[in-house]
């Protein structure tokens, strides 16, 4: 993911009921919503923001069948080719005995794979520092972040957000990409322009 320095207009709301129509209006007006940060999962917000369905479950399915295949192929190789043992007179190719292990590996692969994929999608990793648009986004504020493009008129956008019911509005500059060890420059890039 290529990093880049971008300008954002940040509007903070203290009420879910105000946030929803605001999200709709902002999208309708053609502004590009970067993200909305909320203290708790808000039902239907993804829908209102027009986010696509996550592909995490597809990834999970692929990890799962990888686990199934790994378990079955490894065990059949071990027990028929590499080290055949007579266990209780059972055939070497003894599928019922392998099913529990196959199941465990299926679950393990899909669980671990999905956690890692989730971390990647959310850009979470050790040593990565995230830019916080508003400290109270983890407490009691719904923070809507709008990305400024070359066509965006900041002053218009700020007054638009004010009319939509935002309690606090400011402009921030932050890096959009992520890379391990790159966020030491974050403080330099971060600047406040209004309010806060």
């Amino acid at each position: 993911m290529a990093g880049g320095v971008k300008k954002f207009v940040v509007g903070s709301f203290d009420d879910e009921a105000v946030l929803f129509p605001a999200v709709k209006n902002v999208r309708k007006a053609g502004y590009k919503i970067h993200d909305v940060y909320t203290p708790f999962p808000v039902h239907g917000l993804d829908h209102a923001m027009g986010l696509r369905e996550t592909s995490l479950h597809t990834a999970g399915f692929i990890y799962a069948i990888t686990g199934t295949t790994t378990a079955l192929s490894f065990m059949s190789w071990v027990f028929t080719k590499d080290w055949p043992l007579n266990i209780g007179g059972k055939p070497h190719f003894a599928i019922p005995a392998w099913i529990p292990i196959t199941f465990e590996l299926t679950v393990l692969f899909s669980a671990v794979g999905m956690v890692l994929t989730f971390c990647y999608l959310c850009q979470l990793s050790p040593f990565v520092k995230k830019h916080h648009f508003h400290a109270r986004a983890t407490d009691d504020l719904f923070v809507m972040v709008i990305e400024c493009t070359e066509k965006t008129n900041e002053a218009d956008l700020q007054s638009f957000l004010e009319k939509s019911g935002a309690q606090e509005i400011n402009v921030q500059v932050a890096e959009t990409g992520w890379w391990i060890g790159r966020y030491d420059r974050e403080q330099v890039l971060y600047r406040e322009e209004k309010g806060f």
Partner: protein, 421 residues
């Protein structure tokens, strides 16, 4: 609110068509299979007669369909106890299905009593008193496996499902009469529901999840036992019960009823169908693997009668694996996707497939111990379930036309209306 539902002409046509088809199959059985002919004595491995076929088919179908309709009351009770709110919009559908329990209960009881007191030792070997006295295993079980206990306990079970289920339905219908409940009234009403639901659930554990499958089905193979058996039967009938709920919900939705039911609710019913298919497979496999691994002759007998051995394929080989294919692989791979569980057509197809699959499952549980390798899958076997399906459609239709389809004063209705998965 458009509450009163009129059955369409095609629904009535299908109901009576299926009942007539079933009655014809039953008459065929009465005339051609001589169900009341005495059992030919020949030890445990007697040759099955027409009468064996008649009673085995009736046993399979009556037990299966009774437990399937009974499962919907279990669904209501556990969701009530869990303070579930999402199912309230469609709650009248499982209620309607459970109202068939008395009808199928009486049918089942008559079939069971005819088998027990008609001395059908070709169905239940333990009915043969002279064989039991010479057999230490059956003798040891005779405190449990005897006609008196069987009859009394079967009667108590059917009666309790009937009465406790009726209490739950009455409570629900009573709430329609008053206006919207205030906080205190609603709280009391929910508590009352919870108490009756817990009584039903405890009794359900004592009957469907333990003793009833032991008596009605597992005792066909009287020497054999499995500790998984009752859970297995429960899983089989519960997943079919949820599929039946899904079918009626989709039917009513097609007719413009159940205005608050959306694809969110369908999604949750679909999750039940998916999850309990996997749960059924877990029990299927656990039962199979433990017996396969320990390899005790008295235990493996059950599977040898079905799939056979490595050298000689058994008569139920195909049905046994068809069962696993329909009830595990199909739900797992098809119902896994979110979009499928929210698709009315796909859920309909899967519900029909699951009910058929578990009917096949019960077939392979009943037939090997009674018909041995001489089982039939003919018009009689397919005609008798038509009678039961017709009876279910008749009973459900009756309840749906007589009662409002939305529990409009249920305190959790709002929660169900805004349900979002």
């Amino acid at each position: 609110m458009n509450n009163q539902f009129e059955l369409t002409a095609s629904y009535k046509k299908w109901t009576w068509g299926l009942i007539v088809a079933g009655v014809i199959a039953l008459l065929y059985g009465f005339i051609m299979l001589h169900p009341f002919a005495p059992v030919a004595h020949g030890g445990e491995h007697h040759d099955p007669t027409g009468a064996t076929r008649f009673w085995a088919v009736l046993l399979q179908n009556s037990v299966f369909w009774l437990l399937v309709v009974n499962a919907s009351m279990f669904f209501i009770c556990v969701t009530t106890m869990a303070m579930g709110g999402w199912q309230v919009a469609l709650r009248r559908v499982p209620e309607a299905i459970s109202s068939v329990v008395p009808i199928l209960g009486i049918v089942t009881f008559l079939v069971l009593m005819a088998i027990i007191w008609g001395g059908r030792t070709d169905i239940y070997h333990w009915l043969d008193a002279s064989a039991v006295s010479k057999d230490p295993i059956l003798n040891g079980k005779s405190g449990f496996l005897n006609p008196k206990f069987y009859s009394i306990w079967s009667a108590i079970c059917i009666l309790m499902w009937w009465l406790l289920g009726r209490k739950m339905r009455t409570l629900s219908l009573e709430s329609d009469k008053g206006g919207t409940m205030d906080y205190e009234t609603g709280k009391k009403w929910i508590w009352k529901n919870t108490v009756w639901a817990s009584l039903y659930t405890v009794f359900f554990g004592l009957s469907v999840a333990s003793t009833v499958p032991w008596l009605w089905l597992m005792s066909i193979d009287a020497h054999w036992y499995s500790t998984m058996y009752s859970w297995y039967t429960f899983a089989s009938t519960f997943v079919s019960g949820m599929s039946l709920v899904a079918l009626f919900v989709i039917y009513l939705k097609n007719k413009g009823q159940l205005e608050y039911v959306t694809e969110e609710h369908l999604h949750d019913v679909g999750k039940f169908m998916f999850a309990f298919s996997v749960f059924w497979t877990y029990l299927w496999f656990s039962q199979y693997m433990l017996i396969w691994y320990s390899n005790q002759p008295e235990e493996t007998k059950y599977f040898i009668e079905r799939i056979g051995t490595a050298r000689k394929s058994g008569p139920y080989h195909f049905i046994f694996f068809l069962n696993l294919f329909i009830n595990f692989l199909c739900p797992l791979l098809i119902l896994m996707k979110r979009g499928v569980k929210r698709n009315w057509t796909m859920v309909t197809v899967m519900a029909v497939l699951i009910i058929f699959g578990h009917w096949i499952d019960l077939f392979q549980m009943v037939m090997p111990g009674t018909m041995h390798e001489h089982f039939h899958m003919g018009l009689f076997e397919l005609g008798v379930p038509a009678l039961f399906i017709g009876l279910i459609m008749w009973g459900v239709g009756r309840y749906l036309t007589r009662n409002p389809l939305v529990a409009k004063n249920h305190p959790f209705l709002k929660e169900s209306m805004i349900h979002h998965t």
